[in-house]
């Protein structure tokens, strides 16, 4: 679903069409989960935050500006809620997602049960920013340009982070496992 179509459903929901919310939810839940998980690196916390994000979206739908980027709006809400959650847990967390690596950043909330499946590897080893880009691009199918818009980062930064992330994964997974 492209930006315009999502905006159309947002307008419908804003006007009181509850069924539009179901469509919005289905279309965005993967992206939101990927986004939040990348930051907090904890499945349970990510689930809570995603849930809170949708509740917040429902409550704040009146302030959504038709014609704007719905996903960027949702991501902003999600980001704020994630940071609130992390702060609530009295963790010292840098808000500069691009600078911190996964190891430096995520140890405060990182799920101790993260295993060796590929998602765990991505979440555990990449910085929040890198993990976001990898998941949004490879799992959710967003183009780099769209990710740049959603995350409010320059396209060049997104491309550069993506390449860095793949290089890291290549090293971690070894020659046999590397993504080519």
């Amino acid at each position: 679903m492209d930006k315009k179509e999502l905006d159309k459903y947002m307008i419908l929901f804003r006007a009181g069409d509850e069924s539009a919310f179901e469509v919005i939810y289905e279309e965005t839940r993967r992206g939101l989960f990927a986004f939040v998980l990348s930051v907090c690196k904890n499945y349970h916390l990510a689930e809570d935050v995603v849930q809170s994000t949708y509740i917040k979206i429902r409550a704040a739908i009146g302030s959504y500006q038709p014609g704007s980027n719905a996903l960027a709006w949702m991501f902003t809400i999600a980001k704020n809620l994630t940071l609130n959650e992390l702060q609530k847990r009295k963790r010292e967390v840098s808000t500069d997602f691009t600078a911190a690596t996964g190891a430096e950043y995520g140890h405060y909330t990182m799920d101790e049960n993260l295993g060796s499946n590929l998602l765990d590897v991505v979440v555990k080893n990449l910085s929040p920013s890198e993990a976001q880009i990898v998941l949004l691009h490879l799992v959710n199918g967003y183009k780099h340009r769209e990710i740049a818009e959603m995350t409010k980062k320059p396209l060049g930064t997104v491309l550069w982070s993506y390449r860095n992330a793949l290089a890291k994964l290549k090293k971690i997974l070894g020659e046999e496992e590397e993504p080519k």
Partner: protein, 506 residues
């Protein structure tokens, strides 16, 4: 593992971990926007898009202009008039037609128009009734002298003023310039443009030029400002005429059916002022209290109550005055709102708890905006009075005093923040909706045609018609005559300003 396999496995892991929270959130409340608000929001959004497009268009135009301007300037350094000039364009009959238009003893009026020039044509207006046909509205405003004269020449031909019959007609262009060079440049630009148009369109017409006596320009300026004189420059005289032309619209409009229009005008001013105040209040409630008007009201009342309690205990000062013992001026509380808020800083309000720093800032800003809005309203009105001196005051006499009295009473009433708030809240019970109400009232008035001010203004702003202007001037003179006994005139502008300042409290 290749990229496709990696992607597939990652997606599979992701789907396994992806939570489904829909059932948990679907029953939480949400706050849909009504269809009416939805449409409004959409229109606003559309407006922003239009604005964006307009901005982009302007940007493109600027870029294009920047690239072609040097070429234009290089090729035609005399294409613009760099200083002020005043131009009179008259259709003249040079060789009488055998079927003369003077048959029956009536002479056809020669269309005459005036143009104020600075680089391009700043504005143009008809100097007589027939001129109206050559210059309806502002058709030449913003054009270069060349384009403007081409347009005027084409109209004279289209309307049959030139190039028809067996006589020879044409245009006479008389110019008064800021200096001789400017006058010459303007004349040449105009003459070449009109001559070229006639020649290339096979219109039999001649174009002559001459100097416009400065005394004639002074005479025109005196219509709008009695102090205009020959020692003024062409630019200064042009400014008087241009301002006078701009102002004459509302002046003329007010002169129609003076009784009803003056009343309407008063209402409009007051409504406009309160729509402005309501906007400020609504914004304050929206930003500070999330649009919760009931809570905002309770909160502000609690704040006032705490303040009044503090005042009741004595020792509260505002600026250098003691509250309760000294006489306060209308703006004492508003100007010292920080002190008011400091007084209740430690008070625990029964509604919503202790006042927050953000709330204090918002209240202070609200009070300041409120004051500025009132002062702007009175200042704006004073400017109008001042622009035309006693001439306008006499025409707007009732408006002036009714309006100022209303304002004065309001300001006098507002001896405290509570008064200020109550004034808005109680006297205008639906202050929050007054934008809509104001619009509805305005539409209603316009639709009924009952509002002479609006109807007159709209019609006169759209076109500059000499006949209407003359009629209006007569009406205005009659108004002055009938109200002469009550006319209020100040000896000087300073005297007027001093009077105004006592009203506004400045």
């Amino acid at each position: 593992m290749n990229m496709n396999d990696f992607k597939e496995r990652l997606a599979q892991d992701f789907e396994e971990r992806l939570p489904d929270v829909y059932s948990k959130v679907k029953n939480t409340p949400y706050y849909p926007v009504s269809p009416a608000e939805e449409r409004k929001a959409y229109n606003e959004s559309s407006g922003r898009r239009n604005l964006k497009m307009a901005f982009l268009s302007c940007l493109v135009i600027v870029v294009v202009l920047a690239s072609v301007l040097p070429v234009i300037l290089f090729n035609d350094s005399r294409a613009t008039v760099s200083e002020s000039a005043f131009m009179e364009v008259v259709v003249e009959e040079y060789v009488a037609s055998s079927t003369a238009s003077t048959s029956g003893g009536e002479t056809s009026e020669k269309p005459e128009i005036n143009l104020i020039v600075f680089e391009g044509i700043i504005t143009g207006y008809n100097a007589n009734t027939s001129g109206n046909y050559l210059l309806t509205g502002e058709t030449v405003k913003g054009l270069t002298v060349k384009k403007g004269l081409e347009k005027i020449a084409s109209l004279t031909a289209e309307l049959g003023y030139v190039g028809t019959g067996d006589g020879v007609n044409g245009l006479h262009i008389a110019v008064a310039g800021q200096n001789a060079d400017i006058a010459d440049t303007t004349k040449q630009l105009a003459k070449v443009a009109a001559t070229d148009y006639f020649a290339s369109n096979n219109v039999r017409a001649v174009v002559t030029t001459g100097d416009l006596e400065k005394s004639k320009l002074v005479e025109k300026a005196k219509q709008f400002d009695a102090s205009a004189n020959s020692s003024m420059t062409v630019a200064e005289l042009n400014e008087i005429i241009e301002n006078g032309k701009t102002f004459i619209s509302s002046e003329v409009a007010a002169a129609y059916n003076s009784d009803s229009c003056v009343k309407s005008m008063k209402q409009i001013y007051i409504k406009k002022m309160f729509s402005m105040l309501s906007g400020i209040t609504a914004q304050f409630v929206d930003t500070t209290y999330g649009g919760d008007r009931a809570y905002a009201e309770e909160r502000v009342n609690a704040l006032l109550s705490a303040y009044l309690t503090a005042v009741g205990k004595g020792g509260v000062t505002l600026g250098e005055k003691s509250v309760g013992t000294d006489v306060l001026t209308p703006w004492d509380v508003v100007e010292n709102i920080d002190e008011v808020l400091a007084t209740v800083d430690s008070a625990y309000l029964p509604v919503g708890g202790k006042i927050t720093r953000d709330e204090k800032t918002a209240v202070a800003e609200f009070a300041a905006s409120f004051k500025n809005a009132l002062l702007d309203a009175s200042r704006g009105y004073s400017d109008k009075v001042e622009t035309s001196g006693s001439f306008i005051v006499s025409a707007f006499r009732f408006t002036t005093f009714d309006f100022v009295t209303h304002l004065e009473n309001m300001v006098k009433d507002c001896k405290g923040f509570d008064d200020l708030y109550d004034y808005v809240h109680t006297e205008f019970d639906s202050i929050m909706d007054s934008f809509d109400k104001y619009s509805a009232t305005e539409n209603k008035l316009t639709a009924k045609g009952a509002d002479a001010y609006l109807v007159g203004l709209e019609s006169l702003v759209a076109k500059t018609n000499t006949v209407e202007k003359e009629n209006a001037k007569l009406s205005l003179a009659a108004t002055r005559q009938t109200e002469k006994g009550d006319e209020v005139v100040w000896a000087s502008k300073d005297e007027y300003k001093a009077w105004a300042s006592t009203i506004t409290g400045e």
